[in-house]
């Protein structure tokens, strides 16, 4: 992955074929990785009105997830945004579009983490690699690389992801 050029709000990135394949694979995995419903409040919600608000929140997040999938599909299939150059791809994106890709990557990352039982990496919980959890662990590693790079691009420091 390399930042070719940028101005105030437009970024031109180059991904080699393997990187592009991996990015598309991670984003595609979202469809197969369910997400848990988050809580509206840290304590158990007992107030009926807040229960209703929490239920609305879950429905809204589900809708957001579908909208994100559709937006990402449109973006990554748009020939104005993603073009072939040799064996690689050139991405011409605005900041809001990189933000969309970051959202998709993080959604896959969190879903993969949840699928592993939400291990506490900070406390040294490192699941042994098995056939069952390989994909989840790979997703976390791959999203780490892509997100770190894109975040460094957005903050204007692509050499230090």
């Amino acid at each position: 992955m390399k930042l070719i050029s940028h101005d105030e709000n437009r970024f031109v990135l180059r991904l080699d074929k393997r990187e592009h394949d991996a990015l598309m694979a991670v984003l595609g995995l979202r469809a197969h990785l369910p997400r848990k419903n988050p809580s509206l409040m840290a304590d158990t919600v007992v107030d009926p009105k807040l229960k209703e608000a929490e239920s609305d929140l879950h429905a809204a997040l589900e809708e957001n997830r579908k909208d994100l999938s559709n937006a990402l599909a449109r973006l990554m299939e748009d020939p104005e945004k993603v073009s072939t150059q040799g064996r690689g791809k050139i991405l011409k994106m605005e900041a809001s579009e990189l933000d969309l890709i970051l959202q998709g990557l993080n959604d896959a990352r969190i879903a993969a983490w949840e699928s592993l039982g939400s291990p506490d990496f900070d406390q040294g919980q490192r699941p042994e690699v098995t056939e069952d959890n390989f994909l989840g662990l790979w997703t976390i590693q791959a999203t780490d690389l892509f997100q770190s790079f894109l975040l460094a691009v957005l903050r204007g420091d692509p050499e230090n992801p």
Binding site: E8, D120, Q147
Partner: protein, 102 residues
């Protein structure tokens, strides 16, 4: 470099249970919790996008989350606080709202 712009929060409207009390001050805190999976730079980025903060302020809250386990990001009316929790959860951060003490 401009951060992507989120949609604006809704106009202030009191939570149903607050209306009868005639309470005028916003009374809900938006709290972000530490987790072992979100990348620190991503958390900073999300704070910048959702709240329109500069990087310094966003990083201050990110480090608070990381080091103290949680950070109170803002105090708002129920509707605005709910909006911000939704925005943060849309980005997969662990955010909740809670009633302010006073």
């Amino acid at each position: 470099m401009p951060a992507p712009v989120p949609s604006p929060p809704p106009q202030t409207k009191e939570a149903p249970e607050e209306q009868s009390k005639g309470q005028k001050e916003p009374g809900f805190l938006v709290v972000c919790w530490n987790d072992p999976i979100n990348i620190m730079a991503y958390v900073t980025h999300v704070f910048q996008v959702v709240f329109g903060w500069d990087r310094k302020r966003a990083e201050k809250h990110m480090f608070e989350v990381h080091e103290q386990g949680r950070s109170v990001l803002t105090r708002e009316s129920f509707e605005k606080a709910e909006f911000y929790v939704h925005q943060l959860q849309k980005y997969s951060l662990q955010a909740t709202l809670e009633k302010a003490d006073a």
